[in-house]
Structures are given as C-alpha cells and as structure tokens.
C-alpha cells in the first residue's frame, strides 16, 4: 500500500460513510413534518428576510486583507525550511518581503482602513 492508495481508501471510506449514514437514517427515522419542525431554528431567533442580503463592503475589504496576509504567511514556510542552510541572505530577503507588506499595513491603518465603524 502506498501513499496514494491510503488517500484513495480514506477518500472512498469518507464519502461512503456520509452517504451510508444518510441512507441508514432514512430507513430508521419516522417522517412526520410539521410547521415547527420545518422552521430554520427550532428554538431561538425567528429568521426574517432572505439569507441573501447585500453585504457591507467592509467585509470584502477584510477578506482581501485576509487573502493577502494569508499568502504572505504561506511564503514563510518554505523560507523557514531553508533558513538554516542559506543564513543571512535568506533572512535579509524575507526582511525586505515583510517590510513592503508592513508599509502597506501601516498605510491602511493610518488611513483608517482597519476601523470598523
């Protein structure tokens, strides 16, 4: 058994487990719907309107920030692996990399982009 084989088996078992459980429960459970049961939350807030409302643009801005710093963080991983063998050169490279993004972050902060009013 090699790695790919393990992954395939896991994938197959995972999918079959979910489908199988749904199938089993559909055999076992009673089916008696009523208005209370079909409500979105059986107890708690009454939902109003539709789930598809227009979002505020701030969510988008923060999502963009998230993507950018996510990408930045991912570049740290291969860097960290080779840092020991490359030494100061790699360190300086990453400093420059981080410095540029740091300037961007400070700029957005100074301009009030991180405020959630």
């Amino acid at each position: 058994m090699n790695t790919t084989g393990y992954i395939l088996v896991f994938l197959a078992v995972g999918i079959l487990f979910v489908i199988g459980n749904y199938f089993l429960s559909s055999l076992l459970r009673p089916f008696r719907p009523n208005a209370k049961k079909l409500a979105t939350y059986e107890c708690g807030e009454e939902p109003f309107g539709t789930a598809w409302v227009q979002y505020n643009v701030r969510y988008y801005l923060f999502a963009v920030f998230f993507v950018i710093f996510d990408v930045e963080a991912l570049f740290l991983i291969p860097w960290a692996v080779v840092l020991k063998s490359l030494g100061a050169f790699a360190f300086v490279e990453m400093l420059i990399f981080l410095f540029l993004l740091f300037i961007a972050l400070i700029h957005v902060w100074k301009k009030g982009g991180l405020k959630w009013v």
Binding site: T4, L11, Y60, L61, V81, L86, E93, I96, L101, I103
Partner: protein, 189 residues
C-alpha cells in the same frame, strides 16, 4: 518532514521489488488522478453553465479542492495545503463575498446570453482536442516523489527566484493599496 515519511517508505519498499511497486503506484495514482479530473472538469462545467452566479461560485470551490487533490497525487503536499488554504479557503470565499456585495443581481437568474456561444464552443473544444493530441508527444516526467521537496522549493524560491519573490511582495502591497482605495467609502476625487 512528517509529510514525507510515507513517501520515503515507498522508496524503501521499491528497493525490494521495484517493478511491482511501480505498477501499483502508477495504478493507484492514475485512479486518483482520473477521479479528480472528472471532479474538476464537471465542477468547471457547472461554473460555466450554471445560471445562478452564487451556485457557480460554490462549484468553483469544488474545482479548487480538486486541484488540491491533484497536488497530492503529485506528492506535493505543501502546494496541496496552499491550494486548499488560499484558493478554497480565501479566494473562493472572496468571490462569494463579492457576489453578495453586488446589489440584488444574484436573485434573478442571469438572463444574459452570448451571441458568440457557438464560436466559443467550437474554438475551445478545438483547442482542447489539439492539446490532447499534441500532449501525447510529450515525454512524461517522473511520477515518483522528489525527496525533500519543500526544501528544494524553498531553495529555488530564495535563490533562483529571489527577484520574483521580492516582486511578489511588491505586488501584494499594490493589491492591498488598490483594494483599499477602491473599497474606501470616503469620496476622494
């Protein structure tokens, strides 16, 4: 390096019975590849043909996850994680956010139609057929895991691609500035 433990075991096993192991790896790898290919292509078709743009975005997420699977089939676990984190985790969410931002258009089914539909159809399938035909002439690369892949990637990134690496940082800076000045609510000009 834990990721590579299993792959390294494969190498050890290969020393015992190289031929049999190769066949087995090839088989299971192709099963994985073709099932992922079917997933990606069907998701991609759904993205193109679905009228509801939100649903199309969800299928795009599926296609991204399929690509992450392809990286696993190529034994590049780091890129698989990157693909899952950045594309499925962040970019797909960003796209869905973007759809939710646009005013009410998502409620209606998209009524637009493309006058060049058939030309596009013929052209894209023509190119696809051409590529499938010509890719058969390419020599296949090794399907076996490269040792210390992440280390080699890091070395390439820090040495051969040192300049592109710094350019990426500047590009991220520009993207951040651009997104910020576009989404800023204050009227500036």
């Amino acid at each position: 390096m834990r990721f590579y433990a299993a792959a390294d075991e494969d190498h050890k096993a290969q020393k015992g019975n190289i031929y049999e192991n190769r066949i087995r790896l090839l088989m299971s790898n192709s099963v994985l590849f073709y099932s992922l290919a079917v997933l990606i292509i069907s998701c991609a078709f759904a993205v193109v043909f679905l009228r509801n743009i939100f649903h199309a975005g969800l299928f795009l997420l599926g296609a991204f996850l399929g690509v992450a699977g392809i990286y696993i089939a190529l034994f590049n676990y780091f890129l698989a994680a990157v693909q899952a984190l950045v594309y499925s985790g962040a970019i797909a969410v960003l796209i869905l956010f973007g759809i939710m931002l646009t005013q009410r258009h998502y409620r209606k089914e998209d009524p637009s139609h493309n006058a060049f539909k058939w030309i596009a159809f013929v052209l894209s399938f023509g190119i696809a057929g051409f590529l499938v035909d010509s890719f058969r002439s390419l020599k296949p690369g090794s399907i076996f895991p490269v040792k210390h892949l992440l280390y080699q990637m890091g070395m390439a990134l820090m040495q051969t691609y040192a300049i592109p690496f710094e350019v990426i940082s500047a590009l991220l800076l520009v993207a951040l500035l651009g997104a910020f000045s576009l989404a800023r609510e204050k009227e500036d000009l």
